[in-house]
């Protein structure tokens, strides 16, 4: 039953949200990402896997121009979000990041209350007109992040006082609150215990119905569990990109096969 529904959704929303073509990234003189082509689809979870240092995070950070904050990083190629080039000089990265939210590897809540953490994005983007509306956004965001029941009685307690898994879900709620169209997650579970990981994974599957989700992970099991599309990176190259099932059961590239079978990494 469940599988049937997923397949249905896959078929219904197959439009391309982000199209990356020939993306290269240099950090000073080191060539960290070499000619990557990837399509991110609406309604899908796309997983980036590969050994550490292969450029997964680098590519992810290209998608919302977080690389702009690294002075030595130079990005070439084209990345289209809904057919608009996000590296066009007319694009303000601040506007872009409101549309393409990001969740980081280490939970990084602001040292403010739970409420203020979630309300910050809507506030600075002027998404709500009244306090009541803001309250509502905070509540729905926390519900989407499956955190509402745990924190509804202490919304004004500090966000940094939560457990690691709760903090990460708070960060997800914070990203969700600005109503992004794409959600980027860089190893969101690497600092979490198995139970919290399971909760976040469940959450990712929920979120997919509203956003295109991109998740970087070093755990192949996780990629297999949550994603529909998988991209395998190796030493700055995109080695293989396709349906998750195909990548894990029938990889075309020998490097993918040896990584999946644990020979490299």
């Amino acid at each position: 039953m469940n599988d049937m529904r997923i397949v249905e959704r896959l078929v219904s929303t197959n439009e391309i949200k982000i199209a990356a073509r020939d993306v290269n990234v240099h950090y000073g003189s080191s060539h960290a990402l070499k000619g990557v082509d990837v399509d991110i689809l609406n309604g899908h979870v796309t997983a980036f896997i590969g050994p550490s240092g292969c450029g997964k995070s680098t590519f992810l950070r290209c998608l919302n121009r977080m690389n702009d904050t690294i002075p030595s990083a130079k990005v070439t190629g084209s990345i289209l979000l809904d057919d608009e080039d996000i590296y066009d000089p007319k694009v303000d990265p601040v506007r872009l990041r409101a549309k393409v939210g990001m969740v980081f590897q280490k939970p990084n809540p602001f040292p403010k209350s739970i409420y203020d953490n979630v309300a910050y994005g809507p506030k600075i983007h002027g998404l709500t007109r009244s306090r009541a509306e803001l309250d509502e956004v905070v509540e729905t965001s926390l519900k989407k992040a499956a955190l509402w029941n745990e924190v509804k009685d202490r919304l004004h307690a500090p966000g940094t006082g939560l457990s690691g898994g709760q903090q990460q879900r708070l960060c997800i709620a914070r990203a969700v609150a600005t109503s992004p169209e794409v959600l980027l997650m860089d190893e969101p579970c690497s600092a979490l215990d198995p139970i919290a990981t399971a909760q976040v994974e469940e959450l990712i599957d929920e979120l997919r119905t509203q956003f295109a989700v991109v998740i970087v992970t070093h755990s192949m099991q996780q990629a297999a569990r949550v994603s529909q599309k998988t991209a395998f990176f190796h030493m700055g190259n995109l080695v293989e990109f396709g349906e998750t099932g195909q990548i894990f059961t029938n990889p075309h590239d020998p490097r993918t096969e040896s990584y999946i079978s644990g020979k490299i990494g």
Binding site: P71, A98, G101, P111, I124, T178
Partner: protein, 447 residues
Amino acid sequence: MTERTAGATPRRTSLMQLDARTKSRNAAEARFKAYGLGAITIALLALAMLMFSIFSTGSSAFRQTYATFEMMLPAETLDPKGNRDPAEMAKVTTIGYQNVLRGGLIEAVRSAGIVPDGVADSDITGILSPEAAADLRNRVLANPELVGTVVDIDALAHGRIDGYFKGRVTMQSAERDGNITPQRLQLAQAMTDNGLMAIRFNWGFVTKPDASDQRPEAAGLGVAILGSLYMMLVVLVLAVPIGVAASIYLEEFAPKNRWVDVIEVNISNLAAVPSIVFGILGLAIFINFAHLPQSAPIVGGLVLTLMTVPTIIISTRAALKAVPPSIRDAALGIGASRMQSVFHHVLPLAMPGILTGTILGLAQALGETAPLLLIGMVAFVRDYPDAPPAGLFDPASALPVQIYNWTQRADPAFVERASGAIIVLLAFLLVMNAIAIILRRRFERRW
């Protein structure tokens, strides 16, 4: 098994027996602890000695000997025209008041039944400060209605009399002293026994202006404290915004290139420049070039600003650097601008460090002497500066310069004054450091 024997041969030793290595290691640790303890003891001893010497000589500056008696202010001498017009009454000089005071004092001494031995009526005012007559004149001119009434006189005793009660002057030293005689000391002693003279707390020390070499008993810190406060005001208004804004720009916005590196190195160099150099710079720029007045708190404040800005920049940048980058990423990642990320998230976290650095910078500026000497803050100033902002251009003194100044004077009574002034300066520094600690505590709720 064979592999293990190839390495160190395992020995079977008792836990109860210390081997040589452990013993020497423990001994080294014990020695290190002893050095540390020794260093701290020496530092504490030095501090205790410093405090003791300052407080033992300086605390008496806050107490002063006064002659207190009642007298009638004769209208015929103080207001010959009889119309109580201050402009007319100002024609009576200090000498006139000195004569009036003499009459009152003789009267008071007589009615107390004291027979001055060897002190002629004509020089009985020698036991009072020359300042006493001037004080009385100011008091009367401020309130002409006092003339013709009986008033309570509260006259500063002569510095030597005060020194006698504080143990600085003895009968033997008075013998050889042109300013005092043993007979006058005896009279003062008799007046004290009869309640006409007493030593008590002296607000004048912190409120009155400086006095000339001959009247240490009247010298106060009022003008110096005001001058120092005005300079701190200038530093606060200029150095803090400039320093904090410059650090935020350098740390958060400036591109990381060679020019910024050069600027950074030069800021560190500026912080290490001896303060007297800033004084020379201030003299050249603010006084000789910009023609700002000498001895004015505005010039002192500008020079101290030059000195303090690098200190503030260095501590502010350190505080900004200590904010975890993940906070900036978090803000940028949900679409905050650079500026929003800095002002909403980074600055509040850096605030305790910025405040501490700023207040320590101000404290350093408060104690700074050398550059102020060069811009003429050593001048002898008796008039209080006006309220700011106009008062910033009036001549004033400064606390550390006043201390330096008093240590240069011949009368030993000024040694006591200088130590007292050091106590006041230390109290200001203590208050500032306490504020730094309180502010840090308040802002440091990092959760």
